[in-house]
């Protein structure tokens, strides 16, 4: 593991996101992404991980807003910037890959034009030069016959190929931060492996900061350096991937790991350790620890107040009054 540089690439401080004036969907979120580092942001549906990504990009829907906290990219507070200034960052210093490659591309524009467009928006490039560069980019994301695919419309390409195009658009202007929101969830497992490998190598080559959002702990283990586990709009545990997954401290992280199907029931006769109940919707989140109603280790004090973020070893924190697992 490389030693941490002084200023992080992305620093999210106490971020809350609200729907209008209603209850917060995401509350008091803290995490950092350093240069050249892959951070896995993990959680189940409705935990606010995608909202967080959109908030960083400044792409939240109009009825949603960041109500407190800051998002700093390379030392600039993005929440203080207007849409015009943000536009200079988007696609340039930070870029994003979405979950659905089928709908992420404009159906009536050729894939080439969609790559060229981002180059010309942020770089002073002539048409011919941008086209040359776009074909290079398509080659870089390993699209076969890139020069021919350049003229194809998205519907001609398979899901995996379309996701490669989306990645080519994202890396076109050499961003410092790349956010990938469930980039492989819609893909088959063999294609997922190809895309993950591509992301990994791109990240390594360009020293990118990669924020990988996923529900799949396996993906995080394979790709990420650090992990941030979210539950019901809040970070419950974070730290180095191997440390967290080998020895989870928060009962939710431990529960997620145990719930994942492993082995064979007919051979070993073991039942999966499920987590009872379901994630509460934002308006009915408990007042105490968010996980308390579903937690097997809950005690009386868990109901009283949200547990604070407490350090649990080097570069590691957990929000729990009664952490499980071995102390570090």
């Amino acid at each position: 593991m490389t030693p941490a540089p002084a200023a992080p690439l992305l620093q999210v401080n106490d971020l809350s996101i609200r729907y209008g004036k209603g209850v917060p969907l995401v509350e008091q979120l803290n995490f950092t992404v350093r240069r050249g580092e892959t951070v896995g942001l993990v959680g189940e549906s409705g935990c606010g991980k995608s909202l967080t990504a959109l908030a960083v990009m400044g792409l939240l829907a109009e009825n949603l807003r960041t109500s407190s906290g800051s998002i700093e990219l390379e030392g600039t507070n993005l929440t203080a910037l207007g849409q015009n200034a943000l536009r200079g960052y988007r696609g340039n210093r930070m870029a994003m890959i979405f979950q659905e490659p089928l709908t992420a591309l404009n159906p009536v524009m050729t894939v080439g034009a969609q790559v060229v467009e981002v180059l010309r928006a942020h770089r002073r490039m002539g048409r011919a030069e941008a086209e040359r560069r776009a074909i290079e980019l398509l080659e870089q994301v390993r699209i076969p016959d890139a020069a021919e695919r350049f003229h194809d419309y998205p519907h001609r390409l398979s899901g995996g190929m379309r996701q490669r195009v989306v990645i080519a658009i994202a890396i076109a202007c050499n961003p410092a931060l790349l956010i990938a929101d469930e980039p492989t969830t819609a893909l088959d497992v063999t294609v997922q492996a190809q895309i993950l490998q591509l992301l990994k190598s791109l990240q390594r080559d360009a020293d990118l900061g990669l924020l990988l959002i996923t529900h799949d702990l396996g993906v995080v283990r394979q790709v990420a350096d650090r992990i941030v586990v979210m539950y019901a709009g809040s970070v419950v545990e974070e730290g180095a991937v191997d440390a967290v997954l080998d020895n989870p401290q928060h009962p939710y992280t431990a529960g997620l790991l145990a719930a994942r199907p492993h082995g064979s029931f007919s051979a070993q006769g073991h039942r999966l350790a499920d987590i009872r109940g379901a994630v509460p919707p934002p308006e009915s989140r408990p007042g105490g620890c968010l996980f308390e109603p579903r937690c097997a280790h809950a005690q009386a004090d868990c109901k009283a107040a949200r547990p604070p973020r407490s350090a649990a070893g080097q570069d590691r924190s957990v929000r729990c009054y009664h952490p499980v697992g071995k102390p570090n």
Partner: protein, 335 residues
Amino acid sequence: MTPVLQTNDLKVHHKTPRGMLRAVDGVSIEVAPGETLGLVGESGCGKSTLARCIVGISRPTEGSLALGGVVQQGRRAERFDRARAVQMVFQDPSGSLNPRLSVGRIIEEPLMVHRIGSRMERRKRVEEIAGQVGLAPYHLARYPHELSGGQRQRVSIARALTLEPGLLVCDEAVSALDVSVQAQVLNLFLDLQQRLGLAYLFISHDLAVVRYIAHRIAVMYLGRIVEVGPAEAVWSRRNHPYTRALVDAIPDEMTRQDQANLLEGDVPSPVNPPSGCAFRTRCPHARARCAEDVPLLRDRGGGLLVACHFAEEIEAGHEAADRAPVALRVVSGGT
């Protein structure tokens, strides 16, 4: 014992503007009472078409299909008997329940269609089944949109159980659920199997899920079964290169692994499949013979059937690779 499901060289072909789509192209499978057969494959491999054919939504183009020993003729009059032999649980917990009906009514509907019991008797039965799948009586008055994804899937299961079928076809039944809820539903499936002696045809793209729940696993690629056998044998012996690629592609959350055996490209179109072995275009072991002869399922011992000309070689090579020190494995990519 008579198998609850037996298909013999079943084919389902559809006409498309670009030619004949061979969604299912000669599948022979068997499910014994109380057994779980897991069916895995990537999107477009024909697993859902096969499921729809088994439950009677679409008709086979060729081949035969027997439920509980009764060969299905595809007549409309069969539909009541078929409904009592096989039911289905779907993937999407929001689309599989009629939004305008209460949960109680949704579960009761099969009994109403089959004119079973009086109103009171049906209501009692609904409550009983709801209890079995872990729904409380107050849930019965709710509407689908008032329930969570996991609860909706329980409603689907309850509805499928009212006619007491011997076989449940589960098409990606846990794929749309979050991991913590997925585990609840998987446990429920196991409980119900033990209590009711149900057989499952458990279809999923997720090999880890199938391995956990199934007694036997069948691997499907472009409309055909390429490997079938006892779950652990399929998982650990991986005689077919496709099975091997599937297993290798699963990101393991327990350990970091090197992904040495990545498949190239995408699944070819089932409208125009490659000659010979359909997998050869992506297979690292493909040779000239693969383009000519269609490999048939061969017995590899221990109940494992594999459709690959070079299964012996691959199994041997696979063992050698597992024995080799990790440092020697080539890490591909990373240019």
